[in-house]
């Protein structure tokens, strides 16, 4: 694994590309952009559907993930609309219920509410956040950042894309048939006993999660092998960009945690179809065993969701502040540390069902997560110190991330503490904490990352002003939606309820207003992206002045990524000693008056 791992020698040489004769790209050469169509429309579509090019797969994942994000987002808005007013019964008249069933009871409307929040959770978790960054940006960038032509197993990559499509289709079919009301956690015995009229819906939804897990495993496996085997000559482990470290740590969790949810969901399906009573107490099983199995996967998987976001932020902050990352090794090891600790904390989802000793141990282990994550946050802030900060959209998103993720992380501590968790668990405090981490962390970093690499992926610049406006709307809407939920939670609003006592009305209405500002922000982004694709100005090779290898490829890259295999001579963040290749500060969308690359 180290045959080409000669570490960078700190050479002050400005050029990074060496025309490396012995490893010249062999065989057929296609020097056109990977996006350029081949033949007619049908054959182009067929070429995309059967492509083994990691870049095309990444773009297809991006399109699918954003579409499903829209679907899950609409469900979230529906939830917020229902919660705009509490449901009340006055003289047999129902007021304040949006999902009202014609002539039906209040409970019929509440049943619809249950299906809609399950829809939101299942889509966002299994189809958007888990595959989002690794499959979309990871697929596109990992090989390029390593200086490779593709991932280690390109056909396996294609397989995992189609497995992802099949899983998503199964999930959507289950929704079209009427949806599932179990919540995204599928807790037994409810999930094995609900909906006996058309019980296949639950089986389909669980089957979808199982199939999506397969896709996740195959992608993770592919990435681990790629990082081990396909680094460019001269790129040692500690010369890799931190995004690669993050994706690598993520891939390890994907490989080690997902099989456990695989067998759990499989047993749940058997239980549903054949009454194999492993989890259902009515037929002899143990429902707490299900929770242990479920969270043994699903807690590590929240780090599958957040770790790639850490990687993105490391890239964004360094490049847009033109500053060497503070504590590179600490950052790399913190990623691995988070991945390791993530396997030890699943019990904090079941404090109520364990003994005192076990709860105390899991509580203590949970606090360990705070150490590597705090290392990361401090290092990002230290990186910004004395940097040449440019307020581009990616940088704006990075700053929002630091703010929101810190709130999300710190509010996790009272939930990990036994005495406070007793009061806060299953309340809106948990909902707000989770959204501050998952949305304020992962989605914010994801959108920031899309802007950062958009010029590279599509060869077009986007409108910086409007993108920043969209980012600010998202930030405002997000805080209005979810900060109110922290307050609601501490006052006792339980999660997953379709109605509430009238005292909570004002805060719930603020939260609903916030969710619509959030929608507006994302719509602005959508129009910025469409405008960029239609009328954006062509992107230069290196619009931001980055030093990692993707900025040496064309924008958009050619089919084999590089014209010659790159030879790495400097680290990805050595801004003090290297002028970024192919870079003209005038390319920066924001005028850079006294801004030069090597001014530190």
């Amino acid at each position: 694994m180290s045959q080409h791992a000669a570490t960078a020698d700190g050479n002050e040489d400005m050029s990074t590309i060496d025309h490396h004769g012995s490893h010249a790209v062999g065989g057929h050469h296609d020097e056109g952009s990977y996006l350029s169509p081949k033949g007619g429309m049908i054959s182009t579509m067929w070429a995309w559907a059967t492509t083994i090019d990691h870049k095309k797969l990444g773009v297809m994942y991006l399109a699918a993930v954003l579409t499903l994000f829209f679907l899950g987002g609409v469900a979230a808005l529906a939830v917020r609309v229902e919660l705009f007013q509490p449901t009340t019964m006055v003289d047999g008249q129902i007021t304040g219920q949006v999902f009202q069933v014609e002539g039906g009871a209040v409970s019929a409307g509440h049943a619809i509410y249950n299906r809609i929040f399950t829809l939101h959770g299942a889509i966002m978790v299994f189809m958007v956040i888990v595959p989002g960054i690794p499959s979309a940006l990871g697929n596109f960038l990992l090989p390029i950042m390593l200086g490779a032509k593709d991932v280690a197993f390109p056909r396996l990559n294609l397989l995992s894309w189609w497995v992802y499509v099949i899983g998503s289709v199964l999930g959507v079919v289950s929704i079209i048939m009427g949806g599932v009301d179990t919540g995204w956690t599928f807790y037994t015995p409810y999930s094995t006993s609900t909906d006996w009229d058309v019980y296949t819906r639950v089986v389909l939804m669980i089957g979808a999660a199982f199939v999506l897990g397969f896709s996740s495993i195959l992608t993770g496996l592919n990435f681990v092998v790629t990082v081990h085997k396909l680094r460019a000559p001269g790129m040692g482990w500690f010369d890799m960009p931190l995004f690669v470290w993050a994706i690598y740590s993520t891939a390890i969790i994907q490989v080690l945690a997902t099989p456990v949810i695989g067998i759990t969901l499989l047993l749940l399906i058997f239980e549903r179809l054949f009454h194999v009573g492993i989890f259902d107490p009515a037929i002899g099983g143990d429902p707490v065993l299900f929770q242990h199995f479920f969270w043994f996967y699903s807690h590590p998987v929240v780090y599958v969701m957040i770790l790639p976001a850490f990687g993105i932020i490391s890239e964004l902050i360094t490049v847009h502040a033109h500053k060497k990352i503070f504590g590179y090794r600490a950052m790399a090891f913190a990623s691995l540390g988070v991945a390791f600790v993530s396997f030890l904390v699943w019990g904090h989802h079941m404090f109520a069902s364990m003994g005192e000793m076990a709860s105390a141990v899991f509580s203590a282990l949970t606090f360990l997560v705070a150490i590597p994550t705090a290392v990361k946050v401090f290092n990002w802030v230290a990186t910004l110190y004395k940097g040449s900060i440019q307020f581009t959209t990616p940088m704006v998103y990075s700053l929002f991330f630091l703010f929101l993720f810190t709130i999300g992380g710190l509010t996790g501590l009272p939930l990990g503490t036994l005495s406070t968790d007793l009061h806060l668990h299953d309340s809106y405090f948990v909902v707000a904490h989770f959204h501050y981490v998952m949305m304020g962390g992962t989605i914010i970093a994801f959108v920031g990352g899309i802007h950062h690499w958009w010029p590279k992926m599509f060869g077009k610049m986007y409108n910086e002003l409007w993108a920043t406006v969209g980012a600010c709307l998202v930030f405002l809407g997000f805080n209005l939606t979810f900060f109110t939920q922290f307050i609601l939670g501490t006052r006792g609003m339980p999660r997953r309820y379709a109605t509430y006592i009238p005292e909570f009305t004002d805060l719930h209405q603020l939260s609903t207003y916030g969710s619509f500002i959030l929608l507006l922000g994302f719509l602005v982004h959508l129009f910025v992206f469409i405008h960029s694709l239609v009328a954006g100005r062509p992107a230069p090779k290196n619009p931001w002045g980055g030093l990692s290898l993707e900025w040496e490829a064309d924008s958009p890259p050619i089919e084999h990524n590089f014209h010659h295999e790159p030879l790495v001579k400097h680290g990805p963040y050595d801004f003090e000693t290297n002028v970024p290749p192919h870079w003209d500060p005038k390319d920066y969308p924001i005028p850079a008056s006294n801004f030069t690359a090597a001014k530190h």
Binding site: Q3, V225, V260, G262, L266, G277, I278, F293
Partner: protein, 228 residues
């Protein structure tokens, strides 16, 4: 796997394994071989973790309901389980020998051993079905707590034992079938001369998978058949 015509000589006589070129994004055949092996090892890790769910379920319920586990185990005949263990061990041996013969370019021995491995897998499934699943099934010893009743059961938790038994051995049997199919595919490729001293990635990787299938049975057999 892109193959390009041989550099020189009569390409009709050169065996396919000599003409094999690594895929375009690898620097060498050795690198590709290492990558494939690492990929398969990672995949085997996921398989172990998949079965870990079954083993944990087994351990917990065994602890909770020892009598049900003792009763359930007593319905199994260790001789059939033992025979199947021998069959799988033999197949693992022939699989390992196949790789050896591929390295030495003994094409006929390679093909013969691959075929024996597939047949051993088939024998395993045949024994499992004829002497274990079908007789038990017809005697009402089936999985499921409410579709079937268990008049013979001496402990109310015995259905759980049958659930674990059928899930564990059933998912294992599925892996045996997948492994057999893969080895048969390797056998077909070996007949065309795809494998030799310079290139035997397929045999090696599928062999690793087959050894894991064997290994899981080595754990299932004593847990289910031998300890009561």
């Amino acid at each position: 796997m892109s193959t390009i015509p041989a550099q020189s000589g009569s390409s009709g006589d050169t065996p396919l394994w000599k003409k094999y070129q690594a895929a375009n994004h690898f620097r060498s055949k050795e690198e590709e071989f290492d990558a494939c092996k690492l990929g398969m090892w990672l995949f085997l890790t996921t398989e172990v973790l998949l079965f870990a769910g079954i083993f944990v379920g087994y351990a917990i319920f065994r602890m909770l309901y020892p009598q049900a586990w003792a009763n359930g185990s007593s319905y199994l005949d260790w001789r059939w389980g033992g025979l199947n263990t021998v069959v799988l061990l033999v197949s693992s041996y022939t699989m390992a020998v196949s790789i050896h013969h591929a390295q030495l370019n003994n094409q006929s021995a390679l093909r013969r051993n691959l075929l024996i491995t597939v047949l051993c897998g088939a024998a395993f499934i045949a024994i499992k079905l004829t002497f274990e699943y079908i007789p038990k099934w017809s005697a009402g010893k089936a999985p499921g707590g409410s579709f079937f009743n268990y008049p013979f059961a001496g402990d109310p938790h015995e259905p759980l034992w049958w659930g674990i038994y059928y899930c564990g051995t059933g998912i294992h049997a599925l892996h045996v079938v997948i492994g057999m199919s893969l080895i048969f595919w390797v056998y077909l490729k070996a007949r065309k001369g795809h494998y030799g001293p310079d290139h035997y990635t397929g045999v090696e990787v599928v062999g690793l998978y087959w050894h894991l299938v064997d290994l899981i049975w080595i754990f299932l057999f004593p847990l289910l058949y031998l300890i009561g």
